[in-house]
Symmetry: C2
Subunit: 484 residues, 2 copies
Amino acid sequence: MADLDLVIDRRQFARRQSVPAQRRLYQALRAAILDGRLQAGALLPASRVLAQDLGIARNTAIHAYEQLGAEGYVQTSRQGTVVAALGAAPERPARQAIEQATGPALSQRVAGRGRVRHPEDDLRPFMPGTPALDAFPFALWRQLLERAQRQASSQDLGYRHAVGEPELRQAIATHLRAARGVRCQADQVIVTDGTQHSLDLCAHLLADPGERVWMEHPGYGGARTAFAAAGLVPVPITVDAEGQQAMESLWHTQAPRLVYATPSHQYPLGSVLTLPRRLALMEQARRHGAWILEDDYDSEFRHDGPPLAAMQGLVDDAPVVYLGTFSKSMFPGLRLGFIVMPAALADRAVAVVGELVRQGRVAEQRALATFIHEGHFARHLRRMRRLYAARQQALRESLSRHWPLDGAVLGGQGGMHLVLSLPADHPDAEVAERAWALGLSPRPLSSYGTPGGAAGFNGLVMGYAHVPQAAVDGHVQTLVDALR
Amino acid sequence: MADLDLVIDRRQFARRQSVPAQRRLYQALRAAILDGRLQAGALLPASRVLAQDLGIARNTAIHAYEQLGAEGYVQTSRQGTVVAALGAAPERPARQAIEQATGPALSQRVAGRGRVRHPEDDLRPFMPGTPALDAFPFALWRQLLERAQRQASSQDLGYRHAVGEPELRQAIATHLRAARGVRCQADQVIVTDGTQHSLDLCAHLLADPGERVWMEHPGYGGARTAFAAAGLVPVPITVDAEGQQAMESLWHTQAPRLVYATPSHQYPLGSVLTLPRRLALMEQARRHGAWILEDDYDSEFRHDGPPLAAMQGLVDDAPVVYLGTFSKSMFPGLRLGFIVMPAALADRAVAVVGELVRQGRVAEQRALATFIHEGHFARHLRRMRRLYAARQQALRESLSRHWPLDGAVLGGQGGMHLVLSLPADHPDAEVAERAWALGLSPRPLSSYGTPGGAAGFNGLVMGYAHVPQAAVDGHVQTLVDALR
């Protein structure tokens, strides 16, 4: 007798209530027959047993068997319903076969993806990337926003400049020149809906399907996703204490079209790309017609001394596209980020974005321009820098008090997260899963790996920016519990 | 002596001020040598002459020549600087050669694209797709928005549900069931940043590169753009008075993965897809595992009688993904639209979107949910339906009074635009260009063609929703002037 547990995922079966039970049952059995979990000759449970087991009407089970019989997948013998011997199936595209077996499928390019996120997840202690939302000057922001809304005319309700409102592009350029040493004018700035949107646009504007993109390993998964969607081929570049380690020889064997880089504070390991490596990378990129995408995601939060200057500003006409976001420096829900295009590409890129993108949201953009222009932004950054430094310090001290294992703490010149390395007998995915069950959300370092990169990264990426100092000790002790 | 006019585009040379003159000159000359405009043995102007001609320092010209010499592109003879005989160039990708010659280029997939849009453009008379912005209850909207902002907590500043706030998904589902006959629950609704975002997500979620998408011909260019970016192959399907004319045989020779359709009010021709065609299309789509993307962009503005029910609701489990937008029913700058996924795909699609998309903007979403829930949305739609009917009528009457040419007026059951067909001796692109110069913005019908589709569409797509009745006569007379 076929083991029903192997054939039907009861949880999934129970969940798909929108599909009639008969169809779900038919699909599940057909899938199991087609993919070989049910072999020819296998005896299926009696319809009564099946119905009882799944909590469905007996007629439903009978009709599902009848449909399978009519289509030749099962036949009735003296013993009961048995799986028929299938002839060679006619050739057809793989997905069509899968779909006929299991119901409609999503595209192959998103196969295996899927993670339902809840807003509360981001607020859990140690979730990387969440800023201190309660320290944001929300009342002031609301005031600027309401003022911008009241000043907007009905004409401002239409589509807006695809690359952003002029006053916001200007404010961003001015800020970046002063704070990050970026060499740019407002007409190089393209306002986007955030870094995912920026990466998506860059991948489409600058590279064609099949071209290579160098990815830091370990590195930012959101970038991998965007590049994969654009059809690019990732090449893992291992990160060490001096940042990404782009071997000279690789330029000849695996020359990229794009190089994704977080030079000021590597994500997630925290190393700073050294000056010699920066210069060599830019020189080679220029020589090979590649573009470096400098994702300067959190460098404004360098705790000791002034922030490092951006790579983009190191030399004239650097082959660098500079990306920034307000998700961390303001708040994630704002959904505003930006691209600074190289001067040589800016006009054309702006024109193409004008055709591809529809932009609106004039009040948010103008309010943000005012927030920057009136100095609130710089002031908020200064306050957060101090706050995050104190919170990082608290986490370090708490770890040194309570953490029972050997393990380096990496990535500590600034930012919003630390990496705690784990010994090999504590696999990070398991620790993170147990921590999740206890209400914490550190991320396993191994999940940042670029496919094809060397294995061996084992640790926890721990966001601290939203974790008050007074609460750190308790959370670290909980994390110790997660080691078992 | 080489003719400098053939070698260097002076206007372009003068414009690219961000690139040092020496590099610009070097690039221009190298490009001319590589693409054969300058042949081996051609004598280049003396550096002094060149410098004078281009308005640059003589040293700049000398250094450019030196660089070209060092790289073997030119050599010095008794006559002066002459182009060297180049050996067979080492093989390299085409783009790299182009770029080395002309400076950096964007990707091939966006080649030829690019159109700078100004917000004012959308406000010009006869621009298709612009709603009556001044008729939107802006003060009420602002009030709801401010209320939502005041009620938001600092936690609401984080990332939000990738598929939209629950109350908005619920409000959309309730509205669609009542107003459009769509069969859906809130958990099938995915809130997006507008139709471009919806199309982009659908193309990636439902189809893989190289798969076919059937496009209406003529049809919506924004859909073509999104599908092209996702690597899909368009197949033009001619539209007649009964909507898109999908031949039975095409399902065997060019079976699609996706079918893009505007069944309630074909864009731009205005025909309604007949019931027999709807049923046949769905039946075939189901049989071939294809999905119909029903873009219901403006059907809420049907002027005579109640809006036609959506195709999605015609049968149970229709193989239809339903797309809608608030850009026309509310205002474009809001940047909110939605996808209704088929029930069988909803869970997986929601999970994948959760990984691909970052969503925020909680106040806008909650304010919109309230706007719908409290009945303001339905009331606004009713008012706009009457207003747009009156404006269409005014345009028809004005055309019948003033238009001097023969030509049918198409697409008149509702919506926000009409199509005025033109005789062949008045090419629409030319008429539209002259109209643009006179301050009007009708769009040439020929620009809606899907590549590969039959030629012969000649007319003007004229948006009237934002054109007050009192102004119509004047604008139509201006349009007559544009005929010359």
